[in-house]
């Protein structure tokens, strides 16, 4: 081995060692366990809080509304479609949910629109339908749609 190489050898060894030490501290824990990513991040994403509680949680307390809804055309709907995310409300009753029922809210599904299939959903022209009343829930009970109020 030429003497030049011999003097350079410890220098290169130190360089490689330095690189390995830096690399050790830069690579986060669990990186590369499952692939080229941090395996722990899967758990972190899985642990995020939920906002929509699901219908089964709602009907635990609101059994009257659930019973009404079960026997009507809105039976397949989840409560949180109209009332918004309810996980906070399920933990703390003080957090109130929205009570929709305006022409705009119901119109999301029921306003006359040519791209909506008539067999999928009942459509009305919300600009013309019973203009003497302000909101849809003035006449319709959203949990039992065809039980009209007077």
């Amino acid at each position: 081995m030429p003497p030049q190489l011999k003097t350079l050898l410890p220098f290169f060894a130190a360089l490689i060692l330095f690189f390995l030490i830096i690399r050790h501290f830069l690579i986060p824990e669990s990186f590369g366990e499952l692939g080229h990513y941090r395996a722990n991040s899967i758990e972190e994403i899985g642990d995020l809080p939920i906002h929509y509680a699901g219908k089964s949680v709602c009907i635990d307390c609101h059994d009257i509304e659930a019973e009404q809804q079960r026997n009507d055309s809105h039976a397949s709907l989840s409560c949180e479609i109209c009332h918004g995310p309810g996980a906070k409300h399920a933990n703390d009753y003080e957090v109130k949910l929205i009570k929709s029922g305006t022409r705009k809210d119901c119109g999301r599904c029921h306003n006359l629109h040519s791209a909506r299939k008539i067999e999928a959903v009942v459509q009305v022209n919300i600009q013309e339908h019973h203009t003497e009343r302000e909101n849809c829930i003035d006449c319709h009970n959203p949990h039992a749609v065809w039980e009209l109020k007077e």
Partner: protein, 256 residues
């Protein structure tokens, strides 16, 4: 003399081509090599779930609840209008022109913008991450911040993302955006935090007509497999070979 030189170079050429060919053959046989081509491996263990999504365009009424609930569930800012999930309305007019509209991504619903007598046909197309099996977005990430989970869901590691936006460019479906507050890339996770707790993704929880389903593609008798058996399903941009796992029933050829 001239003939000798030619002979020599021919021999050298043959030698080199044999070495090159042998190297290519040998490396293609190596398993880690396939990782470079495919972002994720196809599942070997078919007992684990391998999620896909099914959307029935026939059932979609364009209420936009999926887009709205997705924003609320995943703390996506209401404005500016970035989306993990949104709805588009395609209108093919009588003169053959195609109008695609998505007012605020559909979070406030749709109102009819083209009069009935001009419409040839019109329909809604809900869009979201295709959870590709060969995701272009995960292949381009320079730091390994985005990846496909073992369940086949493309996820983003918020802590590791450097916000270079390369994946946003790479996604052919436009399903990624840069979160304006976190300055990291954000995308649909198929509500990973919900499905691991046994709940439906928020968009499917709030879909009033049940137009959206998700399920395990390994389970041949599962809900999604039955959907695929019953309907003639297509994926978006099949020519790009992204291995999309978002299947549409009744998808029109006009949809891009």
């Amino acid at each position: 003399m001239g003939a000798k030189r030619i002979n020599k170079s021919r021999r050298r050429f043959l030698k080199k081509s044999v070495v090159a060919g042998g190297t290519i053959l040998a490396t293609s046989g190596l398993k880690p090599f396939s990782v470079l081509i495919f972002a994720a491996k196809e599942p070997e263990d078919t007992l684990n779930p391998w999620y896909g999504i099914g959307i029935d365009i026939e059932k979609c009424i364009g209420c936009g609840m999926c887009a709205k609930s997705c924003k609320l569930e995943n703390d996506v800012p209401q404005e500016p209008f970035y989306f993990r999930s949104w709805v588009e309305q395609y209108t093919i007019k009588n003169d053959g022109t195609i109008k695609v509209e998505s007012p605020n991504g559909g979070i406030d619903g749709f109102s009819q913008s083209v009069p009935d007598n001009e419409i040839f046909k019109t329909f809604f197309v809900p869009k979201m991450c295709n959870q590709c099996a060969k995701s272009p977005c995960t292949q381009v990430c320079p730091v390994g911040a985005t990846y496909e989970s073992p369940e086949g869901i493309a996820l983003v590691d918020e802590e590791y993302c450097i916000g270079c936006r390369y994946c946003i460019q790479a996604c052919p479906y436009g399903c990624r955006y840069l979160h304006p507050e976190k300055k990291t890339v954000d995308k649909c996770t198929l509500c990973y935090h919900r499905i691991t707790k046994g709940l439906k993704p928020a968009c499917m929880e709030t879909c009033p007509t049940g137009a959206r389903i998700y399920g395990d593609l390994n389970d041949k008798d599962g809900e999604l497999s039955l959907f695929l058996k019953k309907h003639n399903c297509q994926i978006l941009k099949p020519h790009l070979n992204t291995g999309s796992k978002l299947y549409y029933n009744e998808l029109s050829a006009e949809v891009r």
